[in-house]
């Protein structure tokens, strides 16, 4: 049977409205999903870029630097995030281009462990030195009992007693 152009006008109208409504909902849904996705990508980009050194700056991260090269690097990080690459993969890419210098905090292995370990070692060693010195001071203190002549102490005690009697 052929489709009748003029048949069931009400049903057709309802169908049209339904279709428009569905399209609107779909459009809204896609829009918010895209917005949520881009916020996530931005956050992720910032997070990764903040751990990369801007190579043309003095101690600024790629996330914070206003320089052109840092901007391009941020774009590259964003692109790789959008491709679904992990933080490690993106870092590995930049390290393969610029060396470990490009990481703001040196990785915790090999010689770099010194940088991470030495401060704590220094605190422990310093604490030990303070403890030893403090102990020596208290031992040698002239206030200690052994420093007072027993005869003299005896005389002080006696005179105090005599004084109380008066």
């Amino acid at each position: 049977m052929m489709w009748q152009h003029d048949g069931f006008p009400r049903v057709r109208q309802a169908g049209r409205w339904l279709a428009i409504g569905a399209a609107c909902l779909l459009w809204l849904g896609v829009g918010t999903a895209q917005a949520a996705g881009s916020v996530e990508v931005e956050d992720r980009t910032r997070e990764i870029a903040s751990e990369l050194r801007c190579v043309v700056c003095q101690n600024l991260s790629v996330a914070d630097s206003p320089s052109d090269l840092a901007k391009e690097m941020r774009n590259l990080v964003r692109e790789q995030v959008q491709q679904g690459k992990s933080r490690e993969e993106i870092q590995a890419y930049f390290v393969s281009r610029y060396g470990e210098y490009v990481l703001l905090s040196p990785p915790k292995r090999g010689f770099n462990l010194l940088v991470w370990g030495l401060p704590f070692l220094a605190i422990v060693a310093g604490g030990g030195v303070v403890y030893l010195v403090a102990r020596r001071w208290t031992e040698q203190s002239p206030v200690g009992r052994s420093a007072v002549d027993p005869a003299y102490a005896e005389r002080v005690q006696r005179e105090l007693r005599d004084r109380e009697k008066v």
Partner: protein, 174 residues
């Protein structure tokens, strides 16, 4: 008790060594991890409308120079040497490619005209190639051997002596 007297001078030895090491290295020099590795591939649209790609230059030694018209004076010092080297060695099989980074096109074209560059030069949109090569300033020059490996990277203007030595070693390399 004599070991205690030695303690302070002994403790200062590693500190002095560390300082000696620290002060003798240039904190701005970033050693490239790319040297002796395969040169990253690139395909760019050159200023004269053609295409420059490393893959098309396979089997030839290539000098890749990163420059910018705002890079004064180093790029201006180096430019005549680049063109002279190109003219001298192009018939010996040497290739030279200039990559212009973070530049404005009219300024870049003016630069090209001023030095009469006859080897291919191309802008680097988005600095993608520059970042791929670990470039952190201009000028930087990469000497790529016949096998596509980066033999040497030079930061700053290349001197005539270094240019001659590197190009000779590229051309002699099998």
């Amino acid at each position: 008790m004599s070991w205690k007297k030695l303690l302070i001078p002994l403790a200062s030895v590693p500190v002095i060594l560390l300082l000696a090491y620290g002060f003798r290295t240039d904190p701005k020099a970033i050693p490239s991890p790319l040297v002796q590795k395969a040169a990253p591939e690139f395909r760019l649209k050159s200023f004269d409308g053609g295409e420059v790609s490393l893959a098309d230059l396979k089997g030839k030694p290539v000098v890749v120079n990163f420059w910018a018209s705002w890079c004064y004076p180093a790029c201006y010092e180096e430019a005549p040497l680049l063109e002279a080297t190109w003219k001298k060695y192009k018939d010996h099989g040497l290739m030279m490619v200039g990559v212009d980074i973070q530049d404005k096109e009219p300024n870049a074209r003016e630069f090209l005209q001023r030095f009469g560059f006859t080897f291919p030069n191309a802008p680097d949109p988005g600095s993608k190639v520059s970042i791929d090569y670990g470039v952190y300033g201009v000028p930087e020059t990469f000497f790529i051997d016949r096998h596509g490996r980066i033999a040497y990277k030079h930061v700053g203007a290349v001197t005539p002596a270094i240019m001659e030595a590197q190009v000779q070693s590229l051309l002699q390399g099998k």
